[in-house]
Every structure is written in structure tokens, then in C-alpha cells.
């Protein structure tokens, strides 16, 4: 128990928390945007994965991590729009489309990785670089807080800034009004001459941007290469966070943080004598419990 406390109540635990949460926050914001527009974007997992690989390729062959980030975002948007095209313009069921897309992403990234580096496992053979970590001038000096908040990868800061951006976008701009209408009552939106399709495409594109950044963080921030299926279900967790957070940016971020706490704990807890498999299960268990509690609460609210 003492070890446990020692693990949790340290500044490095909270520092890890932010790092672990970064891809989840980004992806869950992506999920929030699309679910507000009335689309369940399970494809965010595949988007992250493909962006992660595209970022590495671009970084290695086109000129460094910044170009990589840009390309990751671009590819994220393209993938998103592709999902949109199939599910909206070609009218395939969106859940099925996304599942097919994710399956494709896992295999497709391996295919292209093999085509380029003749490896099906990792792109370690490429020198693809890393996005910088940034010390924050004044905060850095503050004793505990400085250790927690400063010196994160730039994308970690971007992710928390994005919470704010998405909030403003959804609730304070005309586009947000349209996106929310597209989710709540698509017919109402069409009836005033706003193209539902266009609105949803825009929402998808924004979620592609967020998914792209999340992917870039995985392969150019968290680590510095791409490895097969490296997102490891983080996109699904983002969906869970969106559901738990009632599709609001703040709620989804909180839920992502909750998951991150559980995950960071699972790393820390292994130092103690808990069986590792059960500890590894913790974050998923926490998400399930969180989801169920949320549903119970929502049900109770409705009943009232």
C-alpha cells in the first residue's frame, strides 16, 4: 500500500497522466464533434492509425516532424471525408463503414509499411524524428506544478487547447449551431437550405484534424516510430469517453482523464504485488463502470 501511495502522489504520476491523456483527449474531442453532428465515428481508431503512419513517412521523406504533423492532419481529414463519402453520399451504414475502415487501417498500414521499409512490424528503420517538448517559462519554476505542467510534448498542450477550441466552436459559432442541429434534427437543418451533408462533412473533417493530431502524437511524440496497430484501441476508448461525457467537450475530456488516471495507475500498480493481468484490465474496467454509472444516472434523470 505504501508503494502505491508512493507511486500515485508524485508529480511524475500527474505528469504521466497528461501524456497518457493526450491522444485520448484529442480523439475524444473528434468523437464529440461527430456525435454532435449525428454520426458515431468509430473510425477514429483507424484514422489515428493511418495518420500515425503517414506522419512518420512524411517526416522521414519530406522534411521532419512538422511536415509529418501537417501530413498526419491532412491524411486524417482525407480519411474522415472518405468515411463520410461512403456513409453519407453512398449511404452505407456508418457503424459498418467505420468497422470496415478500421479493419482496413490495420492491414493497410502494414501493407504500406512493408512496401516502404520491407518490415511488417515497425518503421524503426526510418529516421522520422519527434515533435518537441516545451518548457513553459514561468510555470516551470513553480515547485510541484512546474514538474507536472511544464516540459510536455507540444501536442499535449495542443490537446488541452483544443478542448477550449471545440467548446467555442460548438457553442459560440454559427457552425456549431449547425453541427448541433445536424445531430438533433437533420431535417430542420435541410429545411433552411443548409446542406446537411456539407455540415456533416465539415464535422467529420474537424474530427479528422483531431484524429490526425492524435495519430501524430502516437508516432512522433509518444514514441518516434510507427508500429503495427500502435493505437491499440485508444480510438475506441475515445468513443467511450464521448459517450460518458454526454458528447460535450468538457465531459469527454473529463472522461478521458478518468481513463488516463486508470491507465497511469495500472502502470504504477504493477510495482506492487497485484497480478499484472488484472491491473492491465483496470483502465477498461474503469471505463465500463463509468459508462454504466453514466447510463444509470441518465436513466434516473429521464425518469424524473
Amino acid at each position: 500500500m505504501k508503494t502505491l501511495v508512493k507511486v500515485i502522489f508524485t508529480s511524475s504520476f500527474f505528469y504521466s497522466l497528461i501524456r497518457v491523456a493526450t491522444p485520448l483527449v484529442l480523439a475524444s474531442l473528434g468523437a464529440v464533434i461527430t456525435s454532435n453532428a449525428g454520426i458515431t465515428n468509430i473510425g477514429i481508431e483507424g484514422i489515428m492509425l493511418i495518420s500515425a503512419l503517414a506522419g512518420v513517412f512524411a517526416s522521414a521523406f519530406l522534411g521532419g516532424p512538422w511536415v509529418g504533423l501537417l501530413v498526419a492532419i491532412l491524411v486524417g481529414v482525407i480519411c474522415s471525408l472518405l468515411i463520410g463519402y461512403v456513409s453519407m453520399s453512398l449511404k452505407a451504414d456508418s457503424v459498418l463503414t467505420c468497422i470496415a475502415f478500421n479493419t482496413m487501417a490495420v492491414g493497410g498500414t502494414v501493407y504500406f509499411m512493408y512496401a516502404v521499409v520491407k518490415d511488417k512490424g515497425t518503421t524503426l528503420a526510418l529516421d522520422s524524428g519527434k515533435l518537441p517538448s516545451i518548457p513553459i517559462p514561468i510555470i516551470e519554476e513553480i515547485p510541484v506544478l512546474g514538474k507536472i505542467l511544464s516540459n510536455h510534448n507540444i501536442l499535449s498542450y495542443v490537446s488541452f487547447f483544443m478542448v477550449f477550441v471545440v467548446y467555442i466552436l460548438l457553442y459560440k459559432t454559427p457552425l456549431g449551431l449547425r453541427i448541433r442541429s445536424a445531430g438533433k434534427d437533420p431535417k430542420a437543418l435541410s429545411s433552411v437550405g443548409v446542406s446537411l451533408l456539407k455540415t456533416r462533412y465539415i464535422a467529420l473533417a474537424i474530427s479528422g484534424v483531431l484524429g490526425g493530431i492524435a495519430g501524430a502524437f502516437m508516432s512522433m511524440g509518444y514514441v518516434t516510430w510507427f508500429s503495427k496497430n500502435m493505437t491499440a484501441g485508444r480510438g475506441f476508448i475515445a468513443l467511450a469517453a464521448d459517450a460518458m461525457g454526454n458528447s460535450t467537450p468538457i465531459g469527454a475530456t473529463m472522461a478521458s482523464l478518468l481513463f488516463a488516471v486508470a491507465e497511469a495507475l495500472s502502470y504504477g500498480l504493477q510495482v506492487t504485488t497485484f497480478p499484472p493481468e488484472l491491473v492491465q484490465m483496470l483502465p477498461y474496467m474503469a471505463t465500463i463502470v463509468g459508462l454504466i454509472l453514466y447510463s444509470i444516472k441518465r436513466n434516473a434523470d429521464k425518469a424524473k
Partner: protein
């Protein structure tokens, strides 16, 4: 004629529209709308009115035909285009985002901006309250749609069109959900609009409304425009005969009721909805075999909830229901069906049928357990035999019992619903708006069936917004207002439509004693 032409603002010529499922909704449609008129469009259900309007509003694209606006040929390929050309449409069903405010709904799509990016809330409120004022609509634009009445929603819809500069306004059955008073109010507003130079296309199934407010009327039948006439040169009888292509039997003969046993008794039913509104406030009554009791009332006064509770679709908060003097224990649709209660729901598409399943599957959905071999397997040959019989009996127009329901017209879907409900072993029929939006032929069939079953000893509770239907069918009548039964009429013969209207609006209320006569 040349003089007329100069005033034609909108003209449709030779429109043909085929839906993807093969339904030919418009075969040969020609329509001319003159500037500044209120032009009525009437026709049986499925005649193609809404389809035509959707084409004029750019929501559907015709296979053939031309559309002229002010003499100029135009292609209307999206609502946006139509809006830009000054055409506005209020749809048959509300197209409002419930969780947004009236103002947000009004400006949606042409939101005022601040700093080029942010939504300018102040400007938004200003725009929407100004337009409301200009056209004399007294509404509070800051209220959320989910909290306002149907009338206000309808007004919001009109304002949505007006704020976009609509000169031509299409109103698809705007009065279907309004109270007589709200309708009156709406007509006032429409006249005002006309005065301000707007042109209005008005769709309604109510002849009296057309006679009252419209200048000209175009009659549609089976996807074809039959004729356009000046309203003052025609009569309701002429319109209806042109509409259906035969003389309508306006009255169904029925024998006096033979009151039988007490079938159903409701005691002090209360129900509070999700928004916390008390939709049923201690409602009590008795239902006897061999009688049709109708429930009149303005939509939203608790009739739907009553029907849903009596069929088990919703659970009451308080009170109890006795069927044949036995208290109900379980309040599920299953339990009510087992007690012999059948229910024709208001919404035949989303509650009353599974549209992608076959007619046969729909008919036997509630009788699965009665058509079995070895208690487990479906007895398909017996199903097929009975399905055929009922399809014939209820005159469902189809080519096979395996045809999917979504290939049928609304009227035929309703016949399928009736064929399912009215063939089981039942004692009590709860019929909610059984003929709403249904063509005259089907309506007549369903009404006759109801009377037939009444005569065979069933107790019928008819919930209807169609006063004609109430007068035609009911043996007894109650009015619901604000969640309560506020009037009870032993005999509908001595009642006038006007009087009923007063009770429906709660202007008049009977005393408790009078209402309680229903207990006898």
C-alpha cells in the same frame, strides 16, 4: 389570358416524379400560381401534393418537367436555391430543433456573425423579434421550442421562411395540428401576409378552410392535376367529387348502440411526462361493450397519453385500470393484449408497423404464438392462408403478402395495421386517429369496421381530432382539456361543432357532476 400570364409567378409544367421504390408520385402535373393569391392544393392522400411541393422547394428532383419562376425557367436542385429565389416552405411535419430556442431556429442557416467567426447573439435576437413584430406574431423568441405550443411552432416555421425573404410561401397542411382558434389566428396572419404582397400555396384536407381563405384551388388526383378553379366559382361537393373521382358517401348509417357489460374502467389515472407536465390529471371513465366512446380534444391535451396508457405503451403514475372488473397487475402492452385490448396507434410508420418487413410479418407480429407448429415453429401455410383472407377483407392493395410494407401507400399501411388489430380475439378497441391522413375510401372502410365490431359487442374508445369522425361514429363523447375530462355528452346528436370547440379549448367546462355521469 395574356393578362393573367403576366401575373403568374410560379409555373410547373409536365412534372413527373418517380420515387426510388417505383412509386409514381407525380405523373403529369401542371400548376400556375398567380402573384398575391392564396392558392389551395387539395387531393386525396398520396395524390402527390407533398411531392410536388418538395419539388418546388428543391428537395426532390423531378424526372421530367419544367418549372418557371416569373416566366424564367429555373432548375431547383436544392432547398438553398429555392430559398434564394424567394420560395419558402412550411412542411407537413415540423422541422425545428427542439433543444434550440425559437430565435436560434429562425436564424439557423443565415446566422449573424461577430468578428467573422462567432455567433452574434444580440443580432440574432434582434432579427428574429423584428420579423415576428413585422408580421404581427406575438411570440417570445428566446423560448426553447420544446417548451412552446404547436401553434407557436407553426408560427416559428413561417417566420423561418419569411426571414429568408420568401415571397412565395408553401404551407403543407399547416392546420392539421392546430386548434380551431389557432387556425383562426393563423388565417389572420396569412391574410396579413397576402396584403404585404406574399403569395401562398396552401395544402389542406379541410374543405371549409379552403373555402374560407383561398382564392383559387387546384385539385390533384393520382399524381395528376385535375383542374384549377376560382374558389368562389365552386362548391365543397364539386371539389370532393373531382378529388376522388366519385361521389363521396358523407354519412355512414349505423344502428343505435346496444349497451352491454362493463368492459373497462379507468380510475383516477395520472401521468406526468418527461418534461414534468401533468398530461393526465385524475382521469376516470367507464367503457361498455357495444358502444363507441369518442375522445375529442385539441392535440396535446392528454388524449395520446390516455391511449398509450390504456394499451400499455406507457405506464401510469397513479390510478388503476380494471378490465372486466379485474384490476390490471401488469401494465405492459402484452398484458393488455392478453386481456383482449387492441390498439390502433396514431403513428402507423414508427409504432404501427415494421416497414421493412413483409405485410404478412406485420399482420402476424402480435399473433406469433397462435400460429405455431410443435409450439416453436411458425405455421407458415396457415399464416399465408389467413393473411390472404385478411388482405382481401381489408382491401390492401398489394401483389403478395410477402411484399414489404414500405412499398405501400399510407392508406394501405393503415389497412395492414387494422387487419392486424381487428382480427384478433378482442373485446376492447383503442383507436387513436385511425383515419388521420388516410384517403376517403380507406377511412370509410375503417370506420365501417369499427361500427361492425361495436355491433358485434366490442367496446370502442375512439380518439380523434377529426370532428366529422367524432360526430359520425360516437355513441358517447368526452372532451379532454388540460389533462382532464372537461365535458361528457351522452348523445352526440344534439351537439354542434362550435360548442365542442369551446370545450376543446377549455373556454367552457362542465361541472364535476355532469362529467361524472360517465360513471353510470
Amino acid at each position: 389570358m395574356g393578362d393573367m400570364n403576366s401575373k403568374v409567378v410560379l409555373k410547373a409544367e409536365g412534372i413527373v416524379k418517380v420515387y426510388p421504390n417505383g412509386v409514381v408520385a407525380n405523373k403529369d402535373v401542371n400548376l400556375e400560381i398567380v402573384a398575391g393569391e392564396i392558392h389551395a392544393l387539395i387531393g386525396e392522400n398520396g395524390a402527390g401534393k407533398s411531392t410536388l411541393m418538395k419539388i418546388l422547394f428543391g428537395m426532390e428532383q423531378p424526372e421530367k418537367g419544367k418549372i418557371y419562376l416569373n416566366g424564367q425557367e429555373v432548375t431547383l436542385d436544392s432547398p438553398k436555391k429555392a430559398i434564394n429565389l424567394g420560395i419558402g416552405m412550411v412542411h407537413q411535419h415540423f422541422m425545428l430543433v427542439e433543444s434550440l430556442t425559437i430565435a436560434e431556429n429562425i436564424v439557423l442557416g443565415k446566422e449573424p456573425k461577430k468578428n467573422g467567426f462567432f455567433l452574434d447573439r444580440r443580432e440574432m435576437l434582434k432579427i428574429s423579434s423584428e420579423v415576428a413584430e413585422k408580421y404581427n406574431f406575438s411570440i417570445n423568441v428566446e423560448e426553447k421550442i420544446e417548451n412552446v405550443s404547436v401553434g407557436v411552432k407553426q408560427e416559428t416555421e413561417i417566420l423561418k421562411a419569411l426571414v429568408r425573404g420568401a415571397k412565395i410561401l408553401i404551407l403543407d397542411e399547416p392546420t392539421a395540428v392546430l386548434t380551431p382558434q389557432e387556425t383562426k389566428n393563423l388565417f389572420e396572419e396569412l391574410r396579413n401576409l397576402k396584403k404585404q404582397g406574399h403569395t401562398i400555396i396552401f395544402i389542406s384536407h379541410k374543405l371549409n378552410e379552403i373555402m374560407e381563405i383561398c382564392d383559387r384551388v387546384t385539385i390533384m388526383r393520382h399524381g395528376v392535376t385535375v383542374e384549377t378553379k376560382e374558389v368562389k366559382d365552386t362548391s365543397p361537393a364539386e371539389i370532393s367529387s373531382k378529388m376522388v373521382g366519385r361521389d363521396v358517401v358523407l354519412h355512414i348509417d349505423k344502428l343505435p348502440a346496444k349497451k352491454g357489460e362493463l368492459c373497462l374502467e379507468a380510475k383516477d389515472l395520472c401521468y406526468t411526462n418527461k418534461l414534468g407536465k401533468m398530461m393526465l390529471d385524475h382521469v376516470s371513465f367507464k367503457l361498455y361493450a357495444g358502444e363507441i366512446v369518442s375522445v375529442a380534444g385539441v392535440e396535446g391535451n392528454g388524449q395520446s397519453e390516455l391511449a398509450e396508457i390504456l394499451s400499455g405503451m406507457k405506464e401510469k403514475n397513479e390510478g388503476e385500470i380494471l378490465i372486466e372488473n379485474k384490476r390490471m397487475q401488469d401494465y405492459s402492452p402484452k398484458a393488455f393484449r392478453e386481456k383482449g385490448v387492441v390498439y390502433i396507434p396514431e403513428d402507423r410508420m414508427s409504432v404501427g408497423s415494421a416497414e421493412r418487413m413483409s405485410i404478412r410479418d406485420n399482420i402476424f407480429a402480435c399473433k406469433v404464438d397462435q400460429y405455431l407448429k410443435k409450439n416453436v415453429f411458425l405455421d407458415e401455410s396457415r399464416m399465408e392462408k389467413d393473411a390472404k383472407k385478411w388482405i382481401e377483407d381489408f382491401q390492401v392493395l398489394c401483389f403478395s403478402s410477402k411484399q414489404k410494407v414500405n412499398m405501400l401507400s399510407g392508406g394501405n399501411i393503415q389497412k395492414v395495421v387494422a387487419a392486424r388489430e381487428l382480427t384478433e380475439d378482442f373485446k376492447i378497441i383503442i383507436a387513436e386517429q385511425p383515419t388521420r391522413g388516410i384517403d376517403a375510401g380507406t377511412s370509410e372502410l375503417i370506420r365501417r369496421k369499427l361500427i361492425e365490431f361495436r355491433d358485434a359487442g366490442a367496446a370502442v374508445l375512439l380518439i380523434s381530432a377529426d370532428l366529422n369522425e367524432v360526430f359520425e361514429l360516437s355513441d358517447k363523447c368526452v372532451v379532454m382539456w388540460n389533462g382532464k375530462i372537461n365535458a361528457y355528452f351522452e348523445d352526440t346528436a344534439e351537439l354542434t361543432e362550435e360548442e365542442l370547440g369551446y370545450y376543446m379549448l377549455g373556454v367552457k367546462n362542465q361541472s364535476k357532476e355532469e362529467v361524472e355521469k360517465i360513471w353510470r
